[in-house]
């Protein structure tokens, strides 16, 4: 009996401790720090800007590091940042930037031209991961404390935009002299609106307001970015007020989420999903010979009902666009003329294949090559990552059957698929890309130089397609300093690429986000109307947010008194009942 009593007491103790935990929790959180809490499903991989690459890490750097030139929330237009003005040379190769007066790092040290010179030149020399695509051809020279001259070795249409994170030399010079990639970068010194306070890997990261930010101190004291492994849990936290905003909401929970307190945003950033066909244009591989015939590629494109895919697979979230997404800014995307759109038309697709001599000579329902040999059976590589693969495959392979094309499906994880694509051992695959603000990187992927000719070094050109005309246009846009003319060239390139149909762009994806309206106001979409509110290109939302007076201190939970009563009742029932049962049973056993 005494042992049972001990067990009972221990159990009561455990439950009591948990109960105390509940109460303690309800009472906590009553100080006056203004905290914004954001839910996300991906952690920072590294706070070190020369190492990290997750989207979450970019969000953090956007907050901690200001850039020389900033991007307007509405349209990414170049606006002053750390530099209040700049002037270009006649040849367009050199720009002279004038820094604002009295700039300071968050630790109080002055921010000078030397910091810019350090960042630009060292990142170029050491090939820093996230800097070098901008700084590879640049040389920076300090004229005086507030003036820095940046010269490009080649004409660069991206200038005068200088959207690289400027790092504090007094912190980073040491690590840079050593191996910069081993630096933990937890010091939290920056020039942006918020700087790192603490990073708890796998749990959360917290940034605090930078009193020295050049636009002034933010209205929010701190932002907690909270990691959820499961999207459904994150949505629950947003609904019960634990979160003020959430990124990357599962599509199936997105539609019903909007309410009086919650606004949902499907923020397009130019990302898209495509069906690629192996063009066998000089890369490695053994793609199906029929796909080298433009008519067959057009027939495949017309066999696919992209509107249905957008509605049924993407659940209507995003944009029903069918051109290559090269930038979040819609102005870079051309209108494809009506007669070239390759819209869903299985009859026309069948007619095109018939005319090309691809007939079903053996009556098995699948067409053969014009010489009557190989059948039109395409290897379809499906991506195991992501949630849309099976649904897309089911629809597309079904539509292809209707035009006499058979498919053999294999499923790959991303790295296997990357290797299979590099080796050209596929006919069709479905995958996607997300572009940068400048269209150049995305456009570069389809140049001949990016074909994979050595499996040890994969190129980006995963459609195995290349054209001299496209390459010539690419070079032209890459050096065209007049923006309107450049846009025209890019339109021409995208139209050309669309009409070649090695990529059939299925739809443009969107970031699914939501925010609560009861505690903060000032949420900004970047770009305006179509973009997301957080995890945008330069994330201007956070500085723009202000707390709503008297807004939502209550988290919707129950009062402490009620809780204590419930816990006490549970305790009495569990412990008392348990002891009673044990006693009566002991009695019975003795009688047996």
């Amino acid at each position: 009996m005494t042992r049972k009593l001990w067990v009972g007491l221990l159990a009561a103790g455990a439950i009591g401790a948990m109960a105390a935990g509940m109460v303690g929790n309800v009472q906590a959180g009553s100080d006056d720090t203004v905290t914004l809490t954001v839910g996300l499903t991906q952690d920072i991989d590294s706070p070190n800007v020369t190492v990290g690459y997750t989207v979450a890490a970019y969000e953090f750097w956007n907050l901690q590091y200001a850039t020389l030139t900033d991007k307007a929330a509405a349209d990414f237009a170049i606006i002053p940042g750390l530099a209040e003005s700049w002037e270009g040379s006649d040849d367009g190769l050199t720009y002279t930037y004038t820094l604002r007066e009295g700039l300071k790092w968050s630790d109080g040290e002055p921010l000078t031209a030397d910091d810019v010179v350090f960042t630009v030149n060292t990142s170029r020399d050491q090939g820093w991961f996230n800097h070098s695509s901008v700084t590879a051809n640049l040389t920076a020279t300090a004229i005086d404390e507030r003036t820095v001259e940046i010269t490009s070795a080649v004409p660069d249409p991206k200038l005068p935009t200088m959207d690289v994170y400027i790092l504090p030399e007094h912190i980073w010079a040491g690590p840079a002299a050593d191996d910069i990639t081993t630096y933990d970068a937890l010091e939290g010194v920056g020039s942006g609106p918020f700087t790192l306070q603490e990073w708890k890997p796998g749990q959360e990261w917290i940034v605090e307001a930078n009193p020295n930010y050049w636009q002034g101190e933010p209205a929010i004291d701190q932002i907690v970015f909270r990691l959820y492994t499961e999207g459904g849990a994150m949505v629950a936290a947003l609904e019960n007020g634990e979160l003020d905003a959430a990124n990357d909401i599962p599509a199936e929970l997105f539609e019903g989420l909007a309410s009086d307190d919650i606004v949902t945003v499907a923020g397009a950033q130019g990302g898209f999903t495509e069906l690629a066909m192996n063009g066998m244009a000089g890369g490695l591989g053994d793609g199906h010979p029929a796909l080298q015939d433009l008519d067959v590629r057009h027939a495949v494109a017309m066999a696919i009902d992209r509107d249905a895919l957008f509605e049924r697979v993407a659940l209507g979230i995003g944009l029903p666009l069918t051109v290559l997404g090269v930038s979040p800014l819609q102005e870079w995307l051309p209108e494809i003329p009506e007669d070239q759109q390759l819209n869903y038309d299985p009859a026309a697709a069948n007619a095109l294949l018939d005319a090309g001599g691809y007939l079903d000579t053996d009556g098995d329902g699948v067409r053969e090559m014009p010489d009557g040999g190989q059948s039109l059976t395409f290897r379809y590589a499906e991506r195991s990552e992501g949630t849309q693969g099976p649904a897309v495959r089911e629809l597309i392979t079904g539509w292809l059957t209707e035009v006499g094309i058979a498919t053999e499906v294999s499923v790959f994880d991303d790295s296997q698929l990357g290797t299979a694509i590099g080796a050209g051992e596929y006919d069709l695959f479905v995958w996607g890309w997300t572009p940068f603000v400048d269209p150049d990187p995305m456009l570069s992927y389809f140049t001949c130089a990016q074909l994979t000719t050595d499996i040890e070094s994969l190129g980006y050109n995963d459609a195995n397609w290349c054209s001299e005309e496209y390459d010539a246009l690419y070079e032209q846009q890459n050096q065209e300093l007049d923006r309107d003319k450049r846009i025209e060239i890019v339109h021409e390139m995208i139209t050309l690429f669309h009409n070649e149909s090695t990529y059939v762009v299925l739809y443009h994806d969107a970031d699914t986000q939501a925010y609560r309206t009861d505690r903060f106001e000032g949420w900004l979409q970047q770009p305006a109307d179509t973009g997301p509110v957080i995890f945008t290109n330069s994330s201007p939302t956070y500085f723009n947010l202000t707390p709503i007076d008297g807004g939502g201190g209550d988290d919707g939970g129950m009062s402490t008194g009620v809780l204590i009563a419930i816990i006490a009742a549970v305790l009495v029932v569990v412990v008392g009942g348990g002891l009673l049962v044990m006693r009566s049973r002991a009695g019975r056993e003795e009688r047996e």
Binding site: T37, W433, T434, S444
Partner: protein
Amino acid sequence: MRAGFVIRKVLGAFSTLAFVVVFNFFLFRVVNPNPVDSMFRGRNLTREQLDEITRKFNLDGSKWDQFVGYVQQLARGDLGLSFKGNRPVSTVIGEALWPTVLLVGTSTVLSMIGITIGYRAGWRRGSRFDTASTSFSMITYSMPEFWVGMVFLGFFSAKLGWFPVGGLEDPGSNASGFAKYLDQLHHMVLPATVLAIAYIGEYMIVARSSMIETLREDYLQLARAKGMRDEEVRRRHAVPNARLPVVSLSAINFGFIFSGAIAVEAIFSWPGIGQATYLAIRGPDLPMLQGLFLLISATVIVANLIADLLYGKLDPRVLGR
């Protein structure tokens, strides 16, 4: 206990571990020959930068060279660098270890009440108590953890708001000492309960069936004939003999304390080993996966070794085998 027995068991454990090291290495490389290219797809990096990353993660050279490098590294107690963020694998695992031990340890201890229930149910086989507790165990045992987790989360967190939705502590909490402990307890209630519910049935079923096996033994008859009370017969004669399968189950489960609970940790965003495994698979982060698998295998092997040695202690007949 005979020295030969102990040595045999320890050597067996070591050779299993060695096999795991080799197997681990090649398993992940077969699955994923060169992860760098796919990880950095669309990152606008030059070939030189990608090659540099490949070198840094020891992914260049032949498989054999990579393997030798890996074993040398292991011998130094170095698990390598995680692909994500360049942090040492041992550091990342170290951070995840305590939350997992706390959560899975607590629920393992809580669920051991299933042993007592199982013994009693088996002892009075066919009674109402037996039927009720066996049905309960079968139901909880067959309910998937992630499902129970989602239901609990939806009801107690999202609907009633009694418990936080996930995590180890409140967002942005800088509590310390007792307040921190209470905060963690509050966050642990739901996941620990879900896990305990899942484990309890297992213990109960094993304990019950091993008790039923001992019921047929003659020595129980003898004990009763001596006039011992039923309660005493059960405690002194039946339970000690029914203990063996339960000991091995407990030992293995304690081994899993370090491997975490992938489904429950993922649902409750619990920053433990299970979540780390889940994230590493999503990467895929080869060095992390290798490190985690090694840790998990090693703890299970050690737990088994302990169970084997305990067996020898509990049942001297084992020593002779």
